[in-house]
Subunit: 226 residues, 2 copies
Amino acid sequence: MRELCLPVGLNEHEIQVLGDVVSHKRKVQRGGYLYRTGSKFQSLFAIRRGFLKTCILEQDGRQQVTGFHMTGELLGLDAISTELHTCDAVALEDSEVCEIPFAKLEEISRIIPSLMRHFHKIMSREIVQDHGVMLLLGSMKAEERLATFLLNLSRRFLIRGYSESNFYLRMTREEIGSYLGLKLETVSRAFSKLQDENIITVDNKHIKINDIARLKMKMGNSTCVP
Amino acid sequence: MRELCLPVGLNEHEIQVLGDVVSHKRKVQRGGYLYRTGSKFQSLFAIRRGFLKTCILEQDGRQQVTGFHMTGELLGLDAISTELHTCDAVALEDSEVCEIPFAKLEEISRIIPSLMRHFHKIMSREIVQDHGVMLLLGSMKAEERLATFLLNLSRRFLIRGYSESNFYLRMTREEIGSYLGLKLETVSRAFSKLQDENIITVDNKHIKINDIARLKMKMGNSTCVP
DNA sequence: ACGCCTGATTGATCTGAATCAAAGCCAGCG
DNA sequence: CGCTGGCTTTGATTCAGATCAATCAGGCGT
């Protein structure tokens, strides 16, 4: 738990205090909602196990996936501002989260400065990541976007001790497309193209990265072929 | 100051404590940098006066504007995570900011819970706004993007006591384009189109919104003309 | 085993925005 | 003043990705 939820250099006592905060665990089945847009915010959720997406849906029905989240990540940060959740959080596979009552977290972060600092860093990192996505959406073309996306997943799997070159996508092409600002057909074509070039092997949702270096090339410069 | 930097229901004593944090003011001339990517993070900056943009630039020279910022807004939140600034902050007109040493802010936010809460809300709102931009970049077409952008500015000017229907853009078409994920020509055409429809009047960087209701229509549904 | 349904692939065509190109406008400055 | 350079507008053309459409593969329940 300590490792996942809010790691940091905490001493024995601090870890114990923190343990008290993380009230209880909650399971969310595949397809189930952890929370919904508009519901009252009281807690953050640290993912212990599983895979979720967050998405906002517009009045006219269009939905935009704002992120995919895996073990160890913190959900609900967007809701602090209005005390209402601003997006839906949906499990893409059976998941388990631990609930962190936000008021309590603030309370004990007054006692443990390193915890407070860590929490601030987590929020800040969220902002940095969103800026990265904005860059992607604002200036990359389809293939670059997909390459960036796959490398991002790859790195996150690696950090968690899984293979960086062989993984299973929990989301559909449509969800990937929504996240990347593309239509599902375009996502599918981009997959096929990367496969044709032997950079990856695609078997439905199973992805194998054959040449990570070339995939990285795809990310930065599509047009720079000297 | 109290109103701008970190408003909240603070009592006399708290305001005084806070006053001590906001160490000194700094002026940034038009075109000048408040901070640069990679520079060490120590302080947040609250804008007292002026107008700035933040932007990240990729290895290959492309730049992406991540935001435009006006009086009362807080800059530098992205840098908390790595303690290095992840973007450039450039003044688009002569500006003045007050520097808020972050360590001090954390320190006194331990003493003033409402200040801590307020700070968390500010960070959270930043995340929510970024999600809004992601939605825009991921699923809107040019005209919708520009309408959304203008209405966002309009609202922010209104809040600050300026006209919501008559304002001056500090940024170039290129910067707007970068922010909206469009090329400058497309931005220009979108302006012209809105003008042709008598929804706005454009005189270079002076914008007059003639029909705010119709502009709002443009934002949501481009194709719904019953 | 069968049929159904959801999701994925692939092809053909269309379209919105990018790109290329040419003026035009304005502010600042010699 | 007139020239220069940055910013903007507008037009013509191209192209990446959206849309439309058909087919296919896999998982699930009966």
